[in-house]
Symmetry: C3
Subunit: 156 residues, 3 copies
Amino acid sequence: MTASTSVAGRLAELGITLPAAAAPIASYVPVVVHGGIATISGQLPFVDGQLMTGRLGEDVSLEQGTAAARACGLMILAQLEAAGLLERVERVVKLGAFISSTADFTDQPVVANGASDLMSEVFGEAGKHARSAVGVPVLPRGAAVEVDAVVAIRAD
Amino acid sequence: MTASTSVAGRLAELGITLPAAAAPIASYVPVVVHGGIATISGQLPFVDGQLMTGRLGEDVSLEQGTAAARACGLMILAQLEAAGLLERVERVVKLGAFISSTADFTDQPVVANGASDLMSEVFGEAGKHARSAVGVPVLPRGAAVEVDAVVAIRAD
Amino acid sequence: MTASTSVAGRLAELGITLPAAAAPIASYVPVVVHGGIATISGQLPFVDGQLMTGRLGEDVSLEQGTAAARACGLMILAQLEAAGLLERVERVVKLGAFISSTADFTDQPVVANGASDLMSEVFGEAGKHARSAVGVPVLPRGAAVEVDAVVAIRAD
């Protein structure tokens, strides 16, 4: 991404339409900004408004899981856009990826790349982040993947 | 919470007595403050000094789990108080909620609200935080819930 | 650690040789530095280039698990060294420890101490950190432990 390209423009180039920012399903807010850092709540994978559910190693394929992680990443972008922060992203600092997994599924990094690759595509070097990816037995509403984020934000 | 009310006063209004701050059960400290941010270690749910153990979907009801998450939240407040930071809370930035869950329990957000609602009750708008809530198979000492936190702190 | 001792010197005193910094196994970077904070990606336990795999409560003993957590800690230090940050560590702020666990293994804090004790040995007071330790059913590549970190960095 060159400095002169807006993130909205880059999304359009990539043919990416952001989903509607999901409302929190509980007593919290999607994004908190403090001291130049946006902390984004764990996002679930909605595609066309439908939650991608299931478990890797069971009823979700590697391809579907990766698509779910990308959907979580798109929701992170949608939350930043809804908060008026999308064009002010300075650096994606960290993604935390929780992958619903059977006890013998060990390709969490491949799945999480669905979200990580999206950040590189959209933000270029500024999208390169630290990451943790772990297996969990179950996620809210039976989601296949949940991803949260820490993003550095430029002053207006 | 109005600006003129102390947090201690607000807790009294709510009829909340904080527990004794639990000692870390290992080689770490309960709270680190750096750059205006307090990072609070994962807190377990103690009620009257007794750990709430068990697993959601198995031997812990939704009500008990929510009470356990609230107990974790109270312990976060107790740690802030023990560190002399409770009256200097500027914003609850993030809660990370880990819920001991069977593979088919998917109401982690409801459980985590036990901690989230507490923050709103005590701090009002400043208590509205970003959050992740995930299922885990087991927690330290068999605890039902563990919650960690990132809290912005005002200068003295 | 006295102010006049380098971290490299302290590691030598302790007889610790850092491993080669592991390359990320996916689309992310090992360390992001922003605003004086280094965020280190989740590190897996490599000993002599070999990943320590398995699950606590099953085929990994408490001693092996603790050694695995220490190996994750060494990899965190190796990543800081590779990024040119090891001598600029101001404070270890937070470790996040994910322990591959059967449903009845509850000694995650003991395991995580493998990483926590290392930070105290190497950095002294500056190594005392906040921490979360949770059980997970499975980790990338079948690793026994994964640890990520937030570390405050001094200006040059």
